[in-house]
């Protein structure tokens, strides 16, 4: 069930984008996702224009803990570290099977698999102050991309502390986050993350 008033508010904002398409749902979840083509990325990102799809939560606008989880991008994003190209952290390829179990929260994964299979998912979910509106999620995505490597160092630091037993948290969860983070990064960045943090 999605809140019609808040959907209208967000769609009104999204209409500012020239090439925007709503991937509709049903009477109760009318917006499964929104696609924005030619989305402009920050200057530190090598792919200057990308096509993105933003899945909408099933109970959008009603539950405070029902948030956007991230955005799908039509290709891998890259930035540079010490003049070497590297993947943007936490932006990884996805396949249908990985996301099917999320269809409980995002109807997009249940019904529109041809639209996200093969894309790259930029994970933007955060436990504190998660993005609750489309403005939030695009704003957060842009800011994250601007400082994606700083964010990577910060994340690595936190999880390394947990892994070494010096920080609070679950070691297994932290280990998974670290493995996820290290995927696709340049060897130079990987080495710096593994040893410096």
């Amino acid at each position: 069930m999605q809140n019609p008033r808040l959907l209208q508010r967000d769609i009104k904002f999204l209409k500012l984008f020239k090439d925007m398409q709503i991937i509709g749902g049903d009477r109760y979840c009318p917006v499964h996702a929104v696609r924005i083509n030619n989305f402009k990325t920050p200057e530190n990102i090598l792919e200057r224009e990308v096509n993105i799809v933003i899945p909408f939560p099933r109970c959008f606008g009603y539950f405070k803990d029902c948030a956007f989880s991230g955005i799908h991008i039509d290709r891998q994003l890259h930035t540079t570290y010490k003049n070497e190209p590297t993947d943007v952290p936490f932006c990884h390829s996805v396949n249908k099977e990985e996301l099917i179990d999320k269809s409980g929260y995002y109807p997009f994964y249940e019904k529109d698999s041809e639209l996200f299979d093969g894309t790259y998912f930029l994970c933007l979910y955060k436990e504190k102050d998660p993005p609750l509106t489309v403005v939030d999620v695009l704003d957060y995505a842009y800011k994250y991309l601007c400082g994606c490597l700083l964010n990577a160092f910060h994340t690595a630091n936190i999880h390394k502390l947990v892994l070494y037993g010096n920080g609070e948290g679950n070691k297994e969860v932290s280990k998974r986050w670290m493995n996820h983070l290290l995927r696709g990064l340049s060897p130079v960045l990987k080495e710096d993350l593994e040893w410096r943090c």
Binding site: M1, N3, P4, R5, L7, R27, Y28
Partner: protein, 259 residues
């Protein structure tokens, strides 16, 4: 069948209201099963039941009347058969569908009362939004048994809308509100008929209170051990999107893809 004769504790006026009521039950698991069977025994003659699930072996401890041969059948179909075996003149519509759906919305819009017996938040939310939209009485119930090594523990509650104006969101419904105990894979674990029956009776009693105009509170909480029941009033929240000052517009027919 003379329901009044079988329910001498009811006044004629109350009995008439019960018999004339059109009831919808969302969820025919352990809780909904008790709600349905109690309502039918009470004298309800028009009932619509919704549940997309089939009977599983783990249901047998609390879906009374069900046997091994019923495993795999739709819960709503088995419930309907059992009811007709006792009350042949009962008008029962069986919908093996999940909520929300168009048929549920139609039945709700034509109902006198909806009983929600769900173990997930989304159907709860949907029923609440639709009840607000169509101005219908909604009784939401939930139970939760707790993992307990040496004793037993659990709790439940029944909530009445629009008892004092407040809705389920005002009462604190969240995306991951606790329902049945879940195992390490997040799957709902089998509950117990003991606590389901108490909460079912409580929810129906709340409905009866609303029928006679004597509502004491809009939420009744039950604790299993130590045993206790408490009636409270949840206040309406001004900023609630369902029942507050800035209510959501009900544009469920709006086609966003074409807008």
């Amino acid at each position: 069948m003379n329901y009044l004769k079988r329910n001498l504790w009811q006044s004629k006026a109350l009995n008439e209201k019960i018999v004339q009521s059109k009831v919808v039950i969302g969820g025919m698991g352990g809780l909904g099963w008790f709600v349905g069977s109690q309502l039918v025994g009470l004298g309800v003659r028009n009932i619509a039941v919704f549940d997309y699930d089939g009977i599983e072996e783990t249901n047998l401890n609390r879906l009374w009347g069900v046997n091994q041969d019923d495993i795999g059948k739709h819960k709503v179909d088995v419930f309907g058969e059992l009811c007709h075996g006792i009350y042949p003149d009962l008008n029962i519509k069986k919908y093996p569908y999940s909520i929300p759906c168009l048929k549920f919305e139609k039945e709700l819009s034509e109902s006198s009362v909806v009983f929600g017996c769900y173990d997930q938040s989304e159907p709860r939310l949907a029923t609440q939004v639709l009840s607000a939209m169509y101005n219908k009485v909604y009784i939401d119930m939930g139970t939760c048994v707790s993992d307990c090594d040496e004793s037993f523990a659990g709790h439940g509650q029944a909530f009445l809308y629009p008892g004092f104006g407040a809705c389920l969101l005002c009462a604190g419904l969240k995306l991951n509100s606790p329902g049945y105990l879940r195992d390490e894979n997040g799957l709902v674990m089998p509950s117990t008929g003991i606590i389901n029956s108490i909460v079912a009776s409580t929810g129906i009693s709340l409905w009866l209170e609303s029928l006679v105009g004597k509502v004491q509170g809009n939420i009744v909480r039950f604790n299993w051990n130590p045993m206790g029941m408490e009636t409270q009033i949840i206040e309406q929240k001004a900023d609630c999107p369902i029942c507050g000052d800035n209510i959501t517009t009900t544009l469920l027919d709006f086609d966003y893809a074409k807008s």
